[in-house]
Amino acid sequence: MASPIPKSPEQSEKNRKYDRQLRLWNDHGQALLEGAHICLINANALGTEILKSLVLPGIGAFTIIDGNKVTEEDIGSNFFLDADSVGKSRAHVSTQFLLELNPDVRGDYIDEGPEQILNNSPDFFNNFNVVIACAILEKSLIILAKKLWELDIPLIVCKTIGFVGYIRVQVKEHTIIEMHPDNEIPDLRLNKPFELLKTYFDSIDLNNFDIRDHSHTPYVIILYKYLQQWLINYQDIPRTKIEKEQFKQMIIDGVRKDENGIPVDEENFKEAIKAVNICISHTSVSNSLKEVLNDNSCINLNSKSSSFWIIAKAIKDFMENEGDGLLPLKGALPDMIADTEKFISLQQVYHKQANTDIEAVWKRTLQLLRQLGKPSDSISEKDVKLFCRHASELCIQRGSSLANEYDAKLINTNEIAQSLENPESLMVYYVVLRGVEKFQAEYNAYPGEFDDHVEPDIVKLKACISKLLGEWGCAPLAKDDYVHEFCRFGGAELHSVSAMIGGLVAQETVKFITHQYKPINNTFIYDAVTCSGSTFIF
């Protein structure tokens, strides 16, 4: 048995434990997660399920705020309590059970409700990365939402009642670096080859190749060569469907023929034809990226500007100067039929230019840091490299204030009125949930919470909803079915519905913390009876 020379890298325990998620958000995403501190208001079943999916992947720390004592009902729906917990602080017991999930995570709690904390220590929330509020009362919610809006800290409000779940995200400004698109469009620059690439392409003569080399030439080279031929007769690259078909025919005609004049099977040419639609286009900048580059935060940097905007500005400056209107090159070449030598040498051309572009953006970043009076090590070259690789994905989301949504004069009533006209729309659940909040404020209980109150509560909940719709200038609900359904639920928290919404909220939290993947904008409603979910913008 040959004993191998031990040169494999040592895998840290942490790397092995988090392997399956590092393949999604990578080490830099994990580092952000481990540096994050989140706050959960109310450790009901939904709250602990959210924290479970954040403690397991190794969030840095959490703080639970909950003034409630554990009840029998809590134990029936919340996994992070046990039979002995009744009467104890819910914040305390759930913190202990959650910490058992992962020794890397720190957790603490305050056994007071958000009302007291907002009153007594108004600065309490200043240092969290994300605040999550479950089953919070309308009055406290509005105060909290205003505060976090000013602090620019993402707030996720969520609840489940019976089979219905609700998530609302409030974020003033959120920036995304890596979108992880399903289909990445390759950045090949065929219509505008950089000097290095042009020299490389021009050094190749397909006609001189023997059949082996000809059929092992990467399709990128084939496309370029036929594009040059095309441009002899045309002003522009093939754009219309007809032009593209003509262009494809040129490539088909270029396939080598055997002694009988029959085209041989050249798979690289087949790949080239398939790639025409995606690869032959003008390199353009997407609208969402334009939005970033033309944003006031990008154009007018100041001493408070975040790294995101500084690097975005460096990229913008690059584009307006040495980039000649183009983004820094991605530098990645998709796999294609080719022999090793031809593929690798082409790959290296792209790779080399990508490094040159990174270098240029890095220099511009340092220059901006100097101008802003910031230390030169506040942004690393690694950050710049990541930005350049994902430059086409950069994205900014600007949300809306919850306090405005709760102001009858400011809420987007058009969206509500229009959606309610569609009998399939889940907007009706939004309206009923808002009605339930009014009901709670007035009667200090959920509609239908007590068995002998179901019938009278239907009338009361209907009145709450009618009042709201009146304030919004909307017509009353067409059917009472939804009101009946919520009185049937009686505020019940079904564990599997909370676990589902909990998983979704954890996903959104990870998106906010890592700046990877795109969070919802801004409200999600789920009906577990029909298994349907919808996103609304308020």
Partner: protein, 436 residues
């Protein structure tokens, strides 16, 4: 204990089970009997004690279910702990099903989870027949197909009419990264796993000539070491064990050597592990979403309180939250769940047996893995080829290059095929393609 189902801690469940609502199934009768049934009678089998299985046990136990079985052949690994939340560091190396069952039974009083530390193939029809509903959280398509085949084989038809009491619903979940899917299968009634086999993407394979002669990607180098170099050098006198760090180290070093020789960049240890073990990215939150939807469906089926998911749902949460539901259609010619005689069309009776086997593996609606074939030839059952039993393989290997004609097969002959993807053999009638 007798009155546990009327206990206050279950009041959440009692509200939806003891009160009627406008969106309930028409046959739903609200009463305390529903919860009593869930707690005392309804028997659920959870297949897989991994990311989805752990979530399912927790969800089901808090949705009122008490009589559960869990089956899993695996032991706990460090890389499970980022999502399989019933396991702790001290449990590494222990049985997943046993550890998960103990955790739930300790946490939820009255819960009776029975673990099975074995393969699903180790259990017979009598075992599977005892359950009311089966919930499946597997990462293996073969195992999914096997349990699907098992549940279809439990169906009883009388005069061509399905005895509905023999239908055991299958609720199946799967995840990958921030994506996942859920489906509800009523065997014999709605689309089964085999009806929609094309929903599973084909596995990525690299052509042998690429990995041997013209590697371009680090993956090509790893595949080369895995497929060619390992069997040749046999460094540890055994086949590759993806969980053995020594094995991964060896493959990493050899792949690295090859990558350097060819000037290929980007080969990392993580990539080597991913390719060798075919790792699918997995995260706690997505498992929570998918498993909880599965369990809500089990709750609906068991209590009839709401209509079921009809019948397939996909979640893609990379860009916002996007869920999509649609009805996968039953395939009237499904090899597994249709009542028709199945046929296999071949070009000519003079193709070789190995070509027939190749066809069984590559046909979109069959996708078999290691088919073994016997045939009824003039009244006698004759074994033509069986790969899975070495002694028979050796004896029947010579048949591979014989033509079907020489083996005694004709048009309309019946072959009996066994495969890892199905618990029962499948009878196929040979048909010749008309135009050839």
């Amino acid at each position: 204990m007798d009155s546990e189902y009327s206990h206050r801690k279950l009041s959440h469940l009692r509200k939806v089970l003891e009160r009627s609502g406008p969106f309930c199934r028409p046959d739903f009768e609200p009463s305390s009997e529903s919860l009593k049934f869930l707690m005392q009678t309804c028997k659920i089998l959870v297949i897989g004690a991994g990311g989805l299985g752990c979530e399912c046990l927790k969800n089901l136990s808090l949705m009122g279910f008490r009589q559960m079985h869990i089956i899993d052949m695996d032991i706990i690994d460090l890389s499970n702990l980022n999502r399989q939340f019933l396991f702790r560091h001290k449990d590494i190396g222990a049985s997943k099903s046993e550890t998960a069952a103990k955790f739930i039974n300790d946490r939820i009083p009255g819960c009776n989870v029975i673990p099975h530390f074995c393969k699903i193939q180790d259990k017979n029809e009598d075992f599977y027949r005892q359950f009311h509903i089966i919930i499946c959280g597997l990462d293996s398509i073969i195992a999914r197909r096997w349990i699907n085949g098992m549940l279809v084989s439990l169906l009883i038809y009388e005069n061509g009419i399905l005895d509905q009491s023999t239908v055991i619903p299958l609720v199946d979940g799967g995840t990958e990264g921030f994506k996942g899917n859920i489906r509800v299968v009523l065997p014999g009634l709605t689309a089964c796993i085999e009806c929609t086999l094309d929903l599973y993407p084909p596995q990525i394979t690299y052509p042998l000539c690429t990995i041997a002669n013209t590697p371009r990607l680090p993956e090509h180098c790893i595949e080369y070491v895995k497929v060619i170099q390992w069997p040749k050098e046999n460094p540890f006198d055994c086949s590759i064990d993806g969980d053995d760090p020594q094995h991964i180290n060896w493959i990493y070093e050899k792949s690295m050597e090859r990558a350097v020789n060819f000037g290929i960049q980007g080969l990392t240890y993580r990539l080597v592990q991913g390719v060798v073990k075919n790792i699918i990215p997995a995260v706690a939150s997505t498992n929570a979403v998918i498993a909880s939807i599965c369990c809500t469906e089990v709750f609906k089926l068991a209590s009839s309180c709401s209509p079921s998911l009809n019948n397939y749902m996909i979640f893609t949460n990379t860009d916002g939250i996007y869920g999509y539901t649609y009805e996968a259609e039953k395939n009237i010619n499904c090899l597994t769940c249709s009542q028709t005689i199945k046929e296999i069309e071949i070009k000519s009776i003079y193709i070789k047996l190995k070509d027939l086997i190749q066809l069984l593996c590559s046909k979109n609606d069959l996708q078999m893995k290691n088919p073994g074939i016997t045939a009824n030839i003039s009244g006698k059952i004759k074994t033509l080829y069986i790969q899975s039993v070495p002694s028979i393989e050796e004896k029947t290997r010579q048949n591979l290059s014989k033509t079907l004609f020489d083996l005694g097969l004709r048009e309309n002959s019946e072959i009996i095929v066994a495969d890892v993807t199905t618990p029962n053999t499948i009878m196929l009638k040979i048909k010749l393609l008309k135009n050839s």
